[in-house]
Amino acid sequence: MAVSETREQKGLNRKECWKIVNEAFDEALRIAQDRLFDHPFTRELKAGTLPIECIRGWLLNSYAWALEINSSAAYKYYLFNDLLSQKVDLLAMLADKRGDEYATPGRGGHQRTMDVLGKALGLSPKEMQEYHQLPAMRGMLDMIVWGNESSQRLGMSLAEELLGHWCGLWFESLVKHYGLTEADAFYFHLHAEADSQSDHQSGDSIGHEIMGHGQSHRYLAVRILEDGLMEPEEMKQTVLRQAGLDGYLNFLDALYDTYHPTKGISDVEQTRR
């Protein structure tokens, strides 16, 4: 089988690959969590002092973010299908992820849970669908989607695992401080569970338990190493670079600057400091 031949050629067995990947992801996750959880946006969200306008702004921008990234992931499944057909474990895993995203917890998948969240925050689906995203979000989103289509690393990323942990904080805070019910904030609970845990209970929509979305990136990284598509050092540097979170932190800055009712600054000023 071509896969095992390649593995022998590179001299890395699966156990060694898992060790390299877990060390790289764990270190990167620590760095990224520090940066994300220490951002004023997150600190105020956790304390319940973040203005509701900033929370609505996050959702307005993130609605199309989720939509475009999730549709792009299916495009990636199509784009790399010849390669995936030679690595059927990856094909199965990525197919599972798409199916889960598109059908759990029900018809319309994860995306519909944003409509529920929006309603609880006073935003209609139409408002979220028609919103023109901030430049900081537009640049970051295009970078991810364009990367899905042009990168050879099959979309391997730290982001889903990281955001899974962040979603847990969102869920707790919205319920504790902002008067949302657990059902209103289910979007965050779903992602906290799907993205940050090793396994994910999909329910009837998929019919079987699937790998956690965050864990799937670690598995992808292992397989990339095994097949020699990346060297271990390159893998480590890629994940560490992602831990910088420059694009996402710029977006949080822009949200704060745009929507904060008292600390906001003008659009022009945002591009200068």
Binding site: A64, Q129, E130, Y131, H132, Q133, P135, A136, R138, G139, M140, D142, M143, V145, W146, G147, E149, S150, G244, D246, G247, N250, D267, V268, Q270, T271, R272, R273
Partner: protein, 260 residues
């Protein structure tokens, strides 16, 4: 043979030439104003203009612009294929695309403006190795990806509206002057900036960025032919606005990185 099914789409709204021309002028003016506010008045640009921009900042910005222009030029070349259905029914638009792609790739030498800019970057002391494997910050990657996606997924109207063209000329003039006077970069290594500094004056030869006349023509044709379709959460103005604002975010990156 006429179709027996009545499934024709609604008629496009076509504007007469004077009205279409006025709309084109308005959109170009909108982009000019954005560039004036977000780019020409930016602290980075002011330092460039005053001649006291640190060399490292000039090197980084010039290298980044090379990364952008190289990708933009290559991406622009795809537009003929992307909009082949528009081109087959509007041969004037086809000829415009073909001329601009050809100009971009071959004038004034093989490889076009991309290789001219490469000479500029090298004249600023950037090594061949760095040029071939440049560090790419998230601001640059976002800006590049914006055009990549716009050219891949945007409608004809959105793509035409996102061309910076003549609005880029005042910024290119500042670079041309700064390279000549402050950093001692003479022609031909300064030619990229000199050529682009004339985009707001010349009729043809603007390549991927387009001269004012070339961009005005394309936008006018959008309105004349009713090719104004946009994606659901997009518009021609949004294309122009994002192109300029993502550029401004890149400049902000230099302000932060080099403490300008």
């Amino acid at each position: 043979m006429s179709s027996r099914l009545d499934v024709s789409m609604p008629q496009r709204v076509r504007l007469p030439e004077p009205e279409a021309e006025a709309k084109a002028a308005t959109l170009l003016q909108f982009t000019d104003e954005l560039v004036a506010a977000y780019i020409m008045d930016h602290p980075f640009t002011k330092r460039l203009e005053a001649g006291n921009l640190p060399m490292e900042a000039a090197q980084a910005a010039c290298l980044d612009w090379y990364g952008l222009h190289r990708k933009l030029a290559a991406s622009f070349a795809r537009l003929y294929h992307r909009f082949i259905q528009v081109c087959r029914s509007h041969t004037d638009i086809e000829e415009e695309f073909l001329e601009r792609i050809s100009h971009e790739l071959t004038r004034p030498k093989a490889g076009g403006r991309t290789l001219l800019l490469r000479d500029s970057v090298k004249a600023l002391g950037i090594s061949e190795g760095t040029l071939n494997n440049p560090p790419q910050g998230s601001d640059l990657r976002g800006f590049v990806a914006f055009f990549g996606r716009l050219h891949s997924e945007g409608t004809f109207a959105e793509v035409v509206a996102g061309q910076l063209g003549s609005a880029f000329a005042p910024y290119a003039r500042l670079w041309h002057e700064a390279l000549k006077n402050k950093y001692g970069v003479a022609d031909p290594a300064n030619l990229y900036w000199e050529l682009n500094s004339r985009l707001d004056q010349e009729k043809v030869g603007g390549g991927a960025l387009g001269t004012r006349a070339e961009n005005a023509y394309m936008i006018r044709r959008v309105f004349e032919e009713g090719l104004t379709e946009s994606r659901y959460n997009w518009s021609m103005e949004y294309s122009a606005e994002m192109a300029v604002k993502l550029w401004a975010y890149m400049l902000r990156g230099y302000v932060r990185r080099f403490k300008l």
